[in-house]
Amino acid sequence: MTNRIIKQHPCLDSSKPSLVEREAYLKQLDRLQKASQPSKAYQEMVDQLRKATQPSKAYQEMVDQLRKATQPSKAYQEMVDQLRKATQPSKAYQEMVDQLRKAAQPSKAYLKQLEAAERLRKIFEQYAKH
């Protein structure tokens, strides 16, 4: 088999594309763009994989039920709140505790006398050393 050679006309400018060549380039570009997109079979496989890795509906329902079951009931929650309130000290008790705390603190005069006594003790200690 021999291939016939198409020869170039001497007046033709081969640097400028003809209408036919431009159309061929556009078709080629179109083909390349299509080729660079994933095929339909590939896309279907990806969809199937995505579906396969998603949890089933029955499983999802079971998880929801378990979540509900592990949550404390409303009645239990109310009882806990009441207990928390009951174990908190009353206002009157709190005031009494505050007054007692104040009463147990030493008076200002007593503190001054204590400081003076402390100074005297230091002086006596110094005399005793000499």
């Binding site: 291939n3 016939r4 050679i5 198409i6 020869k7 006309h9 001497p10 003809s18 036919v20």
Partner: protein, 214 residues
Amino acid sequence: MPSTNYSDQVFINCPFDGQYPDMYRACIFAILDSGFVPRCSREVDNATEFRLAAIVRIIRDCRYGIHDLSRVELDPRSRLPRFNMPFELGVFYGAQQFGSARQKRKHCLVLEKEKYRYQKFISDIAGSDVAQHQNNQNLLILAVRNWLVTASRRTTIPSGTDINKRFKLFQSDIRHICIKGSIDYDSMPFVELVKNMTDWLRHNQMVHAPLFAP
């Protein structure tokens, strides 16, 4: 693309009027698909070159010549015949007779609409091989193809049926492209037409079996 030489070039002396544009295109296509280069006075766009000088220059470059005398008829307005085609045939014949050794290797095909019609206006060429195409592009392609096979002895020329099929495909493709691009195919210049045909043939390569055993 290979450069063209004397034995590859075919001078086309055909009517370019708008009445049979597909005949003109079929002739160009058959030459290109056979592996030759069509040349004609329409490729000249240089206003400084005289038309006759351009024709003589092109004839000198071409070993082969196709002369279609089918449109030698009276102009409906002037009532005078058109003599350009018989005149260019005369120039080609003269080059073959009086030219150099290279010019003496010239071959020409004379085409007519009907058998023996030419004898009524150019009886001097009686006895020469004159093919008739009956204004049918299939017959024209076949005549051009068969003559090129005989004159050149090349074995790579496709069959007339193949060229016809491919010409129809080309016509369909180029018309579609022209419609898409709002281009008037009927007014496409010779050089642009040849460029499109050449590129189309390059993009639609076919492998041919040799006609003769090597």
